[in-house]
Symmetry: C2
Subunit: 564 residues, 2 copies
């Protein structure tokens, strides 16, 4: 029996995983991996921490947990995979079942035959077509070499100014990294908000936090030009004409799948531009698989194709592609629900499933609720979580959950990703059985409380809206009675400052006379997190006030200006 030849193109995340998995499942296969870059298995999600200096040793980004650098010798010995670095694949000849390669250093070229081919060519950062993008000091953060450069730059220019173009996940991580490294950072985002995976009010809380940490965050304004002097960056000009001086520009407006090779070989691409694959990660050629940032995957909640260039999915996809190349199509990749998290200074921002906006864009009739609260009990040192839960209106099935704040966002988003994968409804979540102890969560976990709120809302027990809607109404000239039901000390510390009325919830039953006798006057009730406001609404409803709206998340979730 001749040995099966499996060739893998790409050596960062999906490629090495696919190659190693294939070899483990078929020790008699010849597995060859070709990598254009000089390194293998780079922990690219760690670049921001290397730039910031919190990761000190470069090798740590390339090493196994046991501390061995994943170089070709490691791949040969431990994995049984022939890994060729600095070696670009220039063409795929599907008829001949060969690939053509070229070595960057020597110019050497050659061909390699394959029985099964796995394409894991990854993605490349998008470069906006604006003048000045070729100037020295303009970079992306997409390769280890980029990270080296940024780290050096940051060290060399303490107190210097940097502009980050794009307020997505990588943009905000880079914002933190460069700020931590001592630079004055401005993030410029053309869309009205940063972190597009969040709904606007949550994104605004993160932007506020980044500003409090010293970064400038400009939204709703694009870049028109990168300004230079003597071939180096001297600043940027925004679309509105403003100029910002800086000596470093990081472009972080997203990535595009690397599909040139696949396209030239006549493989089918999807509507999003990624390589089209089936559930077995197989392309339109039965002997070619693809995995990682270069492919188009299915969103499990909308059924729609999407690009999902994330390191965790790349590993799972690579595992499936590697198995199927070795064994035949025994493994399937079910698609993604879209889960992510990032650290932005002392906040985490995470999301799983669909945001409210994206669900509506997909034509789904949804209900949602914002919840603000503690991650653990006050006596243990509680930190704030602000989240939004999204569910299908008809069935109550949970479709999305986003969460931001200094609290333990990580647990919340991870558990809610599993809840969505399991098809849980709001009623299921309201009675979920989660691990509780004071160092780790509240007795009623934040996500369970979110379900309680949404359940009350869906049943008409609570009538509430998000603060974005309240703000829009106020901006449009509406003047509801703003009813703050906290205690006087809390009111002293901070308040909206919009002419609100303070009646502590504990006194409300006795002080109804202070409210408009016309019981139909619109009232917007809130407190610190709007739990007491819900209680107030129940009291007022029983007293005949049936035009009371609770402002979800209360002051804790209010991302707009306030007093004090």
């Amino acid at each position: 029996m001749s040995r099966k030849r499996i060739v893998v193109i790409g050596g960062t995340a999906a490629g090495p995983k696919a190659a190693a998995r294939a070899k483990r499942l078929d020790e008699n296969a010849d597995v060859t991996l070709l990598q254009k870059a000089p390194n293998l298995s780079m922990a690219s999600c760690g670049y921001p921490y290397y730039v910031a200096g919190s990761v000190k040793e470069r090798d740590k980004l390339l090493a196994t947990p046991a501390g061995v650098v994943r170089d070709p010798a490691f791949f040969a010995g431990a994995k049984g995979v022939a890994a060729l670095t600095g070696t670009e694949v220039t063409a795929i000849d599907r008829a001949a079942h060969t690939i053509a390669w070229k070595r960057a250093a020597s110019g050497e070229t050659g061909h390699l035959p394959y029985d099964k081919l796995i394409i894991a060519t990854g993605s490349s950062p998008k470069i906006p077509p604006i003048p000045g993008r070729e100037l020295a000091g303009v970079t992306t953060l997409a390769s280890l070499e980029d990270a080296d450069l940024l780290r050096e730059k940051a060290k060399a220019m303490p107190g210097g100014r940097a502009v980050i173009v794009g307020g997505g996940l990588i943009g905000m991580e880079t914002c933190e990294a460069l700020t931590d490294a001592g630079l004055a950072v401005t993030v410029v985002e053309a869309l009205p908000q940063i972190l597009g995976f969040l709904d606007p009010e949550l994104a605004l809380l993160v932007a506020n936090h980044a500003k409090a940490k010293g970064a400038a965050v400009l939204t709703g304004v694009g870049l028109s030009e990168i300004l230079g002097a003597n071939g180096a960056v001297s600043g940027v000009r925004l679309a509105d004409g403003r100029e910002l001086p800086c000596s470093l520009v990081v472009l972080a407006i997203g990535v595009a799948p690397n599909v040139a090779l696949a396209k030239a070989a006549g493989l089918e691409l999807g509507a999003t531009g990624g390589i089209k694959i089936d559930a077995h990660m197989r392309t339109s050629d039965p002997d070619i698989y693809a995995a990682g940032d270069c492919v188009e995957v299915t969103n499990r909640l909308t059924g729609q194709p999407m690009l999902a260039p994330y390191g965790d999915l790349a590993n799972l996809e690579g595992r499936v592609a590697g198995e199927n190349a070795a064994l035949g199509d025994t493994a399937t990749f079910p698609g993604t629900i879209g889960s992510g998290i990032c650290k932005v200074f002392d906040f985490a921002a995470g999301s799983t499933g669909l945001s409210e906006r994206r669900a509506r864009e997909a034509g789904i009739d949804v209900v949602s609720a914002v919840n603000a609260g503690s991650d653990i009990p006050g006596f243990m040192g509680a930190k704030l979580l602000v989240s939004k839960i999204v569910a299908e209106a008809k069935t109550g099935r949970i479709l999305g959950f986003s969460c931001v704040g200094p609290g333990n966002v990580n647990r919340q988003v991870a558990e809610m990703a599993m809840a969505i994968l399991g098809g849980l409804t709001v009623d299921d979540l309201a009675m979920a059985d989660l691990p509780y102890a004071p160092p780790y969560s509240l007795a009623i976990d934040h996500a369970i409380a979110s379900a309680h709120i949404l359940q009350n809302k869906m049943r008409g027990l609570m009538r509430s809206v998000g603060n974005g809607e309240i703000k829009a109404r106020l901006d449009a000239g509406d003047r509801p009675l703003l009813l703050d039901v906290r205690g006087p000390k809390e009111f002293e510390r901070t308040r909206l400052g919009l002419g609100e009325t303070l009646i502590p919830v504990g006194q409300l039953r006795k002080r109804l006379a202070e409210l408009p006798q016309d019981k139909t006057t619109p009232i917007v009730a809130y407190c610190g997190v709007s739990m007491r406001a819900y209680e107030a609404q129940r009291m007022l409803l029983a007293a005949g006030y049936d035009n009371v709206t609770v402002m979800e998340g209360g002051l804790a979730a209010w991302p707009f200006a306030r007093e004090k």
Copy 2:
């Protein structure tokens, strides 16, 4: 229309939740809550941290997130609930629809009529029937008064000796609290292991950690007597005759439901001794509900009745009972899967669903796998997690997950609780889509890696057993070739010390000649966490060695003695 009278017996967790929920849903109801203890809504899970001194202010255990102490005035104002403290309910007259009460301070008695009654009488610590239990210095940690006493005792006797009877959740939390407070602590557990919700090997890792932190942990030995002098504790005598001097004994052998009142009223009790309830939290009397530690609930995985005296469930049960008392049986409580977590010094120990032992006791044919690994990447400061996943053999449905270690156990157990609630299978979990970023998890999350291991095992790709089985074989005289496939530096740092052979995995293909030429000699392969051992097994299998067993979790999960 006459106002509905809802009476709630018990004011710690389930009771206040039920009372407040009932009032919110029916503002026109008269809701009365009677509490035997002097305080209301005590955060009893926080007692260990109050004893240790990390929670400084007693009031914080009684206060809302906004800092208001939950006393009768608070309940009257904010909740609209009449709360009577220091007031014991002495009898329920079901025919007359009244309860009899007695005030401890004044001796005053009276009756109160109800339309709907909610019993939330909680549980009491079990007291072992041994001589000396009445001595001064013998206590439990079940009430705020107990916590006050222990806190004072701990302050008054720095360097003193304490014995904790029982190595369950409360016993181990108290062990940490008293050690942190400066006492020399010995835990005495009659069962062969501490923390009965864990399988033995994981429990042993936690016990090892507690010992490393200075506590003594004795398992498999009961207490026969508490020794005294002048009416105060002077030590304990163990069942094996050993005597341990001490001046403080904390009894923590579990709790029993408080059902005397319900039993005297003729309400049906369950086989476990808890009050029997239906899915609406209704007792055998249609006008009486029960919730919290005093009830028997259904295990959702086995269908069997069980006691589940946990604060989080008490709140959920109270919410259901309160709603149903107010509105009729509109809410249901689905039962528990058994989720819990506790902090033991720098370790967390958590579990959700069934341990392997409990699943087998319930007659379920299960498969399991131990996984040891990092919580986050090494370059971010990884900490160890050791876990065991349990699934139904026939269907692959996940039934249980336990996890211990210094790493982020909290996220793991929370997400796996949701996975179990959602009915996920091992295959589902293997392709789960979780939030990933280096500060928060690995690219392949620990739980997903656990699914990969178990999936490989179920498909026969990996042949592995737990270290408990390996240890038992060695103890029985088996002498397999112990094959350590780590690097020489790792071997220098620590090793089993049982005559093992070291061949690094990267050299294995070339050094097969060093293995027994008789390819059927049993080989047990392992490494740091046994990922490389799995690779070694795949190589060896292809080379004809078909009697190779991987020791799950490798050295990181090995809880027995080793060299260095």
